[in-house]
């Protein structure tokens, strides 16, 4: 019988730890400052005021922006941060390359409790535009709660759960990186997506997954309080 020497054990342990750190670094390259900072401290998402980013595949000029602003002005908890865009006249005169059609709009959120992402999506669609991705950043620990008007039986909740299992596979393809886990609550007709700490959640991805599972939510809200807490009524 031969046993490992102390030298071998120390060497193997150090090499293995370095290998894991190396894999981690190769997959998540970071600056020295980020490397030395406590986890989460330098995250783009964590700890700040909530901000919603709309990824509009078409937002070419101030006319488009005006429609978006008008569509969203009914939401008291949101303030549109207008990006700099060409005027309608300029857009009429100078045709722009395709890549310039798409723009991002940031929405400042004064009270996240009263933001319904489905209402935002509906308002944009009614205005004739659509956001491909609706991202939420800011809260460190939160979940998205999707209310389903239809969830009549156990098979519905099972179907929703099975349908959302696809998110596991899609994670390896770079999607749903923000998603930690999900729960289905048949009694409250809710599908809850728990976001990872400091993650930027893509509500659009969540909605697509729900649609793929065969469900259309009537509301999607971000909750930071205890699970099971009642949803606040908008003022």
């Amino acid at each position: 019988m031969t046993f490992a020497t102390t030298k071998q054990l120390v060497l193997m342990t150090a090499l293995w730890a370095l290998t894991l750190f190396g894999i981690d670094y190769a997959k998540n390259p970071r600056t020295l400052g980020q490397l030395l900072a406590p986890p989460g401290a330098l995250s783009a998402a964590g700890g700040g005021a909530p901000v919603i980013t709309l990824y509009m595949n078409h937002l070419c000029c101030s006319g488009c922006l005006s429609d978006v602003t008008t569509a969203l002005e009914k939401f008291k908890a949101l303030t549109v941060k207008s990006p700099s865009l060409e005027s309608e006249d300029e857009a009429n005169m100078v045709p722009m390359p395709e890549a310039y059609f798409g723009k991002q709009i940031e929405l400042e959120v004064s009270d996240l409790r009263y933001v319904d992402f489905m209402a935002i999506d509906r308002a944009l669609r009614d205005a004739g535009l659509v956001a491909e991705h609706i991202e939420l950043r800011g809260p460190r620990h939160y979940r998205l709660e999707a209310t389903l008007n239809h969830m009549c039986c156990k098979s519905c909740s099972l179907g929703a759960k099975e349908g959302l299992e696809m998110t596991r596979g899609l994670k390896s393809q770079g999607q749903f990186k923000w998603l930690d886990s999900f729960d289905v609550e048949k009694e409250r007709k809710l599908i809850i997506a728990n976001a990872r700490y400091d993650a930027v959640a893509d509500v659009g991805e969540f909605l697509t997954a729900l649609n793929h599972a065969g469900f259309q939510p009537s509301a999607i809200v971000a909750m930071t309080n205890a699970e099971g807490s009642p949803r606040p009524t908008p003022p």
Partner: protein, 407 residues
Amino acid sequence: MTSRRRVGELIVLVSAILLGSTAALAHERFVKHNLKYPLHYEFFGRWPGGPFGLHPDMVRIASRVASVLAAFFLIWFVRRPITEYIERSLLRVGGPTQRALHKLACFLTDQPVRDRVFHAIGEWAVIAFLRSPGLVLMYSATNDSLVMPSFPLDPASAQIFKFVQVALAILILTQTWLPLCGAMVVGTWLYLFRWGWMVAVDAVPVLTVAVVYLSSPWQSHKLAITRINAQQMRRVRFVLGLGFLALGWLKVYNHNLIAGVADNAPSIMKDRMIGFFMAGTDPHYRRECWVIAFGLAEIMSGFMMTVGIFTRVWGAIMVFMFTKLLLVDFGWDEIPHIYPISALLTVIFSNQLSSETAPIEALDEAAWRAGHHVRRLAIIGGSTIVAAILVVFPLLYFISFFDRSGL
């Protein structure tokens, strides 16, 4: 291992607990831990007018824990005369009954138990202990986690880490190159510091099995390892105890997490031992007192195991607690508890137990032989009181200076 080295290790651990400032990156998955109602944070901080600047209820609980710890210490030092007296004077029954009672006395006082069934369970426990980490790693890999289900993998590197865990699990389950497995377990634990010191402290019990792997032969796959020798058992007991001790202080420090778990699974608050520690405290601070009582109870049991005082009794209490959490309170979500349960069973059913109090007992015996009864009293009483105070109060006092409300 010298006592100076042991003290050094404890200082390193305590420093790590106090100096760190990173929030634990636990997630709302598996065992839910979101606080349903805010705690009274003033309870955990400095309390003007309170003894040592602590809340009176906190001091009450700590005093009770220290008293129980002292009582066990005291009984430990006089266990031999007590068992001899009971066996020879009170239980002069003879035959199988006396043999059974003798075995029971041996079990309770950490003496070798000469019994076929006990021995067989011990062998089985070692097999389960050495292999259960493989099952836990497989479970974690299938749940996008690293080592424990409460540590979610980063999506960018998840695929590689999952394969790595499965590879390590295969090595463990086939008992191949155990020294390498030990190095990989320790190396993985070191990597957990990437996610904050609280995560690494939380995972200290994982190192228990590593000490056995590291001291196993390279040809481990050809062997049926069913026994752990005295030296290995001492290390297992030490690391396991230190792990629980660290977890206990982590509960006191990061009170929101354990209070959140209790909010979501109130049944865990119904524990008689914890109930005893927090009896008579202000009902207004019920959850806060429970957090402190739970944390200190874990510290006490971890310390007893580290030092080797009534190891089997405390091990059995912890097995009961983990089994209850697994089968009653949380169910499937706590299935990885098969690992600490098998580790504790290995300790409980080992006939290689030792105690770190041997030097004190040697001094006591020398004083007894010399007929110095006052010196005996001073040795036993002094070490009991000093241990009870040092284990509970200093760190509780220091932690109260840190604002942990935002953790």
